[in-house]
Amino acid sequence: MPVNVTMPKWGLTMKQGKITKWFKEEGDSVQQGEELFEVETEKITNKVEAADSGILFQIVVPAGTTVPVGTIVAVIAEPGEQPERIEGLHMDEVVEAAPSAGGPPAGAPEIRGDTRFVLATPAARRLAKELEMDLSLVPGTGPGGRITESDVSKYHEEGPPPPKITPLANEMARQADLDVSSIVGTGEGGKITKEDVERAMAVRIMEEPAQSLPFTGMRKAIAENMHASLQNTAQLTLLSEVDVTEMVEYLDLIREEHKKEETVRVSLNDMIILITSRVLKRFPVMNSTLVGEEILIHDGVNMGIAVALPEGLIVPVIHAAHKKGLLQIAQEARELAQKARQGTLTVDEVSGGTFTLTNLSMFEVDGFTPILRSPETGILGVGRVKEKPAVYRGEISIRAMMFASLTFDHRVVDGAPAAEFLKTLARCLEHPTLVMT
């Protein structure tokens, strides 16, 4: 009986293969297990062994041709047999097989026991079926590695044989508490080597993390908001370095003025809130939200203040900040931050924001690119104040410098007006008295 040789299927994703080389010519005798041809796929190049012995009667698909899996590529006949020659491409059984030699491509550990073509006696197949066993796991001891009935029953009784492993690899696996039967050996005859164990250890670091954190609740909400913001808007960040020496001096003055009142505590951030909310009034488009098909320009400035919490972050809002004085802003900001940490903020207190301020100075960050809080148009990022040599009135002197970064939605406002806003804001941060004009 002539036997059709088909393009094998290596793994789930293989659709076609290119025959790159025939190791035999028509008329050559072929032994079962001998290399017959070489196949190149998108992933690997490997050799295909003959599943039967006989004479290579016909090469249907010559080297250099790509054909789908299951295509008849050759015919092996018994000596003297003269079957009809095959014309054109024909499909036959799809043989799912593992590549014959060379093992998996480097760096791609494969899992043992995946589908592969197995040589087995009919009795072995029957027994395996009865015992509901995967034949491909059973090592064959018959001719050419054929699995016999006794191989199946032995495997059933004794379980899998221990894998071949070098002493060093074994010691490394033992100390790392790795299951050697899960490691694919790439050494001689599939022996597990040091390199294989090192690879398994590296994979485990990734697959078995030390800790698993739930991705739910606040974490999940933040993730969704941030991701949606980045996906749905056209964000752009502008950066300016600002000389805040005057503001720092002004702040010292206020602190000195109110040093006897315990309830009054003012920070630089409070001043930035005040100044930003005043400047926003002059650039209405920066104090807007994009909702549906409309850009809503807001009359009042509701300033969101990002507060870091152990489990995430929350943005309470100072409503009508543009109307409030410094001491009031300072007090409200402190109360809101306290409530945020206690988890007692009301829905109102975290809603209605028109612009946001985020300050990372306490982490000694110089500058960053904040992410917009949709649907707001702008967010101001504030870095730390650092004393540096700077040119002031034509001379180098030590000045308190700070970076301010403005992220804005380019769908709503273009670069030039946004830059104009940042420029004015920077100027007012440098000279706080300008907000009075």
Binding site: G102, T166, P167, L168, K194
Partner: protein
Amino acid sequence: MYDVIVIGGGPGGYAAAIRASQLDGKVALVESAEVGGTCVNRGCIPTKIWLHAAHLLQGIRTGDEFGIKASVQELDFQTIVHRKNGVSGDIRMGMEGLLGNNNVEIIRDWAVLKSPKEVNVNGTILEAKKIILATGSSLSVPDVPGLEEAALTTDQVLEMTEVPASVLIWGALGPIEVEMATLLNIFGCKVVLISESRRLLPREDGETSQRLAQGFREQGVEVLSRFTLESVQKSERGYTCLLSGPEERTVDVEKVLISSRKPNTANLGLEQLGLRLKEDDGIQVNEQLETSVDGIYAIGDVTGGWMLSHASSSMAITAAENAMGNSRKFSSHLVPRAIWTLPEVGAVGLSEEEAEQQGLDVKVGDFPYSINGLAMSRNEMDGAVKIISDARYGEILGVHIVGAHATELVGEAVLAMQLEATARELAKSIRAHPTFSENVVEAARDAARWALYLPRQ
């Protein structure tokens, strides 16, 4: 169209051609001079004949320790040269026969690369799917004023019919230099061995260097370190060598040995193809031994580094298999070093210093020859086996043997390392008694802290 064209017919090219042919490749080997390369004609093999003669002479001289009182009547160097030529010729003939037997076409001409798939051989363009460069190395005279005139090359040593009264050997003292020192010294030449670096055999374990230097001093060789040869001037009886280093000094000798080698990379068309070279002028290759140009492989001395015959012939297997479509890596850490000095040196893997530099936590095992039964019986008690192992897993990182038959014993270490045996397992291995190989097992036991035949620590 050939599957593989191999350029160079030394131990590397020869092995590569046969391996490619075994894998059903159509192979040509291009060699402009004699097959066998440096190894067979001017290196490993001829020096072993000379060194065996030296060892015989040494044996006769020390025979009275065993009651054999013999005197040497004559040293006929012509006979040694003759024997050397005979053996080299026999090996060449065997190689040519085996190449033919493997259907390798031998082309006797100079080859120049024209493209990654074309070789120009005297005007004829041969096409090949892959090319393996195995062009070896040649002697190079260091740029020292006056040196050329005083030169005695290693090639000339192997053809000598009389021994110079004194020779200065200078440079980075590697295997070639110390073997030449051994050979010349036994035949009565006054040898001055001058190391440019801190010690001789700078790439070996520090203890190996120490043991060998001590051996040389006992044999009457003068050993100096950290000196540079500044100039050589003709003197009445030979040459005056001016040295700089810890102090200025002069040494008067009859000849100065020329032994340093450089990779043969010139006139092969490598520059036009943009083949990258390393700092030591060897061709740069990756782990698969492929050069910076796809489809061109390089093996052996032409890749610089250790320049050992067996490194070349083992690289040949990897390169040939890869040229025939595989993708195997060359295990350079498993290349042993064998040096035929008195006593011999055999080593593989990392030295103790290298292992520590790599930040490894090492456990060292030592066993001296002096308490080995066979060594005592034969009065060959100089030397020791030193095993460097990793403290955590017991991995054998390096084995350093100085002593009788070290060049053979190192094979045990290579096998153990290749099969990834741990020091603990080597410690449980059985050796015949009395043999030198017992030392290897006992050193492994010492690494595991249970050496049976050493005093308790």
